[in-house]
C-alpha cells in the first residue's frame, strides 16, 4: 500500500510539474529575424532594432543591416544609424540606398563637413550635393544661386523649392529701428508696423490720455497733478518705444520659426527626395 501511495505521488508530481512552454526554435536566428520584421512593420522601431542587433551578432544579412539602420533613423538615433549604414557591404544590392540614407542622416545631424567630403567621394555625388545644399540652406548660408539649388531636386518639387528659396532669401523681416522711430513719432505706430494692432491702439490711447490729462491740469494751474500725469505719460511713451523694438524682434523670430517648421514638414513628407522603401508588403 505504501509503495502504491509513493508511486501515485511521484506520478502526480511528474504529470503536473511545470513544463517549459517555450518552443524549441524560439531563440533561433530565423525566429529573431521574423520577430524583428514584425516589429519593424508595426512601427516599433526601438524593439525591432534590439532584435536585429541580436540577429546580426551571429549572422550577416544586408537587408537586416539596412532595416536596423532605418530603425535607428526612425527613432532619431542618427549616430547609430550612420554607424549601421557604414557597416553595409559595398557588394550589397542595397548599398546605394544605404549610402543615400547615410547622407540623409548626416544632413539631419547638420554635419556639413562630412557632407562636403561625401559630395566629392560618394558614389552618388548628386544626392550628396543635394543634402549638402539642403544643410547650407537650413543654416542660412545661401552661397549658391537659385538655379544651382533647384537643379538638384526632382521636377515636381522645383516650384515649391523655388518658393522656399525666395522666402529664405527675402524673409520679410521687420526693422526694430524703424518700429522704434515710428512709435517715437506716433505712440503705437511701431506696434501697427509689426501687426500688433491691439497693443498699438492701447499704447496710443494710454499715452494720449495721460498727455491730455497733463496738459489739462497744467492749464488749470494744478502743476503737481500735471507733473504726475506727465511722468506717467512719459513712462508709457518710453515703454511703448522699447516694446515696439521688442515686438519687431519677436516678429522676426516667428517668421524664422514658421519657415523652419514648414520647410522641415515639406522635406519630411517628400521623404527627403529619396525613394521610399517598403519591406512590409
Amino acid at each position: 500500500m505504501k509503495k502504491f501511495f509513493l508511486f501515485f505521488l511521484l506520478t502526480c508530481l511528474k504529470s503536473f510539474s511545470q513544463q517549459s512552454n517555450i518552443p524549441e526554435n524560439f531563440h533561433k536566428p530565423e525566429s529573431i529575424k521574423s520577430f524583428g520584421n514584425y516589429l519593424f512593420c508595426e512601427g516599433d522601431y526601438l524593439r525591432a532594432s534590439i532584435e536585429y542587433e541580436k540577429y546580426l551578432e551571429t549572422n550577416i544579412n544586408d537587408t537586416v543591416q539596412f532595416k536596423l539602420a532605418s530603425s535607428y533613423s526612425s527613432i532619431q538615433n542618427n549616430l547609430q544609424a550612420i554607424k549601421s549604414f557604414k557597416n553595409m557591404s559595398s557588394s550589397s544590392a542595397l548599398f546605394g540606398s544605404g549610402n543615400n540614407e547615410l547622407l540623409k542622416n548626416y544632413f539631419l545631424i547638420s554635419d556639413l563637413d562630412e557632407l562636403k567630403k561625401q559630395s566629392e567621394l560618394s558614389p552618388d555625388r548628386t544626392t550628396a550635393k543635394m543634402f549638402l545644399y539642403l544643410g547650407l540652406f537650413s543654416n542660412g548660408s545661401l552661397t549658391f544661386t537659385d538655379s544651382e539649388f533647384l537643379k538638384l531636386f526632382p521636377d515636381k518639387n522645383k516650384p515649391d523649392m523655388k518658393i522656399f528659396y525666395e522666402r529664405k532669401k527675402n524673409p520679410g523681416y521687420k526693422s526694430p529701428l524703424l518700429a522704434s522711430c515710428l512709435s517715437a513719432i506716433l505712440p503705437g505706430a511701431g506696434k501697427f508696423y509689426t501687426d500688433r494692432w491691439g497693443d498699438g491702439i492701447t499704447a496710443l490711447i494710454t499715452t494720449g490720455l495721460l498727455a491730455f490729462l497733463s496738459i489739462d491740469n497744467f492749464n488749470a494751474d494744478h502743476h503737481f497733478r500735471g507733473w504726475i500725469f506727465a511722468g506717467l505719460g512719459f513712462f508709457f511713451y518710453a515703454g511703448n518705444i522699447y516694446g515696439s523694438a521688442a515686438s519687431a524682434y519677436i516678429y522676426n523670430d516667428n517668421v524664422d520659426e514658421e519657415f523652419e517648421r514648414e520647410f522641415s514638414n515639406y522635406i519630411q513628407n517628400e521623404n527627403y527626395f529619396l525613394p521610399a522603401y517598403n519591406f512590409c508588403k
Binding site: T206, G239, Y242, A246
Partner: protein, 135 residues
C-alpha cells in the same frame, strides 16, 4: 481569562494585517508640476529696493485684489525679474510695455499661444535680448 488575554494580544495582528485589497490599492499621487518660476505670486523679496516695493505692493494691495493678472509671470513679478536681469532703466521700460499689453484685452490667443494654468505665458527673456549682439 486566558482566552480573553490571548484575544487582546493577538487582535492587533488581525486589525492591522495587510489585506490583499489594502496592499494593492492604487496610491493617490499628484503629478502636477508646481512651477515656482511662472507662478510667482509670493511675498519673497530679494532684498533690493524694487523687490521690497513689490513685496509691499503684494502685501497691501495685490492680496486684497487677488491673482488677476492674465499673464504668467504676473506684472509685478515681471518687473522684479526684468530689473534683476537688465537693470532698473531697461527693466522699467519692459514693465511699462508689459502694462500696456496687459491693458489690451484683444488678440491674446494669437500673440501668446502658450498657457500655464489658464494664464498666458509671457516671460522676461522674450524681451531681454533685443540688441543684435545679445541675440
Amino acid at each position: 481569562m486566558k482566552y480573553i488575554f490571548l484575544f487582546i494580544i493577538s487582535s492587533p495582528f488581525f486589525l492591522s494585517a495587510q489585506s490583499e485589497t489594502e496592499k494593492w490599492e492604487k496610491g493617490k499621487y499628484n503629478y502636477e508640476i508646481k512651477s515656482s518660476h511662472l507662478n510667482s505670486h509670493s511675498h519673497n523679496s530679494d532684498g533690493s529696493a524694487a523687490g521690497l516695493t513689490i513685496a509691499l505692493y503684494k502685501f497691501l494691495i495685490s492680496d486684497l485684489d487677488g491673482d488677476n493678472c492674465a499673464f504668467a509671470p504676473s506684472c509685478s513679478s515681471f518687473f522684479v525679474e526684468a530689473v534683476n536681469e537688465s537693470g532698473l532703466f531697461r527693466g522699467t521700460l519692459m514693465f511699462a510695455d508689459r502694462l500696456t499689453r496687459d491693458f489690451n484685452p484683444t488678440g491674446r490667443n494669437e500673440n501668446y499661444p502658450l498657457k500655464l494654468n489658464g494664464k498666458y505665458i509671457d516671460p522676461v527673456r522674450y524681451y531681454v535680448q533685443t540688441t543684435a549682439s545679445e541675440r
